[in-house]
Symmetry: C2
Subunit: 162 residues, 2 copies
DNA sequence: GTCCCTATACTCGGATAGCAAGTGTCCGAGTATAGGCGG
DNA sequence: CCGCCTATACTCGGACACTTGCTATCCGAGTATAGGGAC
């Protein structure tokens, strides 16, 4: 089981957009450059985020992406589901209804017990991600990063958003 | 993000092995037949479970697989990690250290905040799966299944383990 | 009748193809801007 | 000097190859068993 790399990029991108001056936007190419990742692929994931209503797009010159909501109103789960999809990791194929011991399908009531257990685990995972917001991530990143890094980032941002 | 299908098969297989008479074993082909899945592929996952010490193998005629521990001592997490691997779903590629705002690598102390958040979620997921055992699953399956299905399964098992 | 030996058939185990989803890239559609032109 | 128009360049957006890892399968190595033969 592996989460798409795009999720990591998406969270980082949103965290950077969270500290953007109000009203301004950052194009995909700049976001990719800042994180040192391929521009075209970053753009793909930003599109997913925009489609999900997390980012809003500004077209034309001086356009780009910006957060569509306050950073504190965007959870990690929002980003994960936008990029990776909202389906649970465990997908029950109802194999209990197959094989020689199977009963008629209509006699099975409720979900398979195994499925229920995995859905509970999935919900616990989601709850944890729902409790963390992009605002938290931006703050943590600023707090944890080396001072020289924060400084360079601020300088770069001023130049990029010009 | 998607969990391997083999995990579902593995849990079902272990649940069936949990109700096996003590000392007997069930070959991969029979386990596959019972669940209506391809025999060779089921065998592959059973091998993973055996390698992880969850199942033990009995070679030769009347051989097969059986649980290596009491069903209550095998958790869903054990099965998941045996088949799907134990690595966390989110893998941090440290992109914070790349790009124009990066500081020298040695200045970064501790894990990336985003990574920490995802690891917390991962741990919550694991804790939930660690709390459920194969014994629970076998019991639940027997309780939830239609009576006719339980009956057919018992009959089939008696015949298969012969 | 009992013990031993051998051939058998059945089991697991790892090495081998096929396929789907994620990874990475490109070019076209649309638009705010900047400059030039006319009034 | 001011307002309008047009051309421009910059942006996103979806459609197109490629690679990795999961899916599915096969045949070989090893062993408990069952049957036959000797004592």
């Amino acid at each position: 089981m592996r989460l798409s790399d795009g999720v990591e990029w998406g969270v980082h991108a949103c965290s950077l957009l969270a500290v953007l001056p109000t009203g301004s936007a950052l194009p995909a190419a700049k976001l990719a450059e800042f994180h040192g990742v391929p521009s075209a692929y970053m753009a793909k994931h930003l599109q997913s985020l925009a489609r999900a209503g997390i980012l809003e797009t500004v077209k034309g010159p001086r356009g780009g992406y910006r957060l569509a909501r306050p950073p504190a109103a965007v959870t990690l789960l929002d980003v994960v589901e936008a990029i990776d999809g909202a389906e649970p990791a465990f997908r029950c194929s109802e194999i209990r209804r197959r094989g020689p011991a199977a009963a008629p399908a209509r006699e099975y009531r409720g979900l398979c017990g195994i499925n229920r257990a995995f859905l509970r685990a999935d919900e616990a995972w989601r709850a944890e991600l729902r409790a963390v917001t992009i605002a938290d991530m931006a703050l943590t990143a600023a707090r944890d990063a080396p001072p020289s890094g924060v400084d360079k980032a601020a300088r770069w941002l001023r130049e990029a958003v010009r």
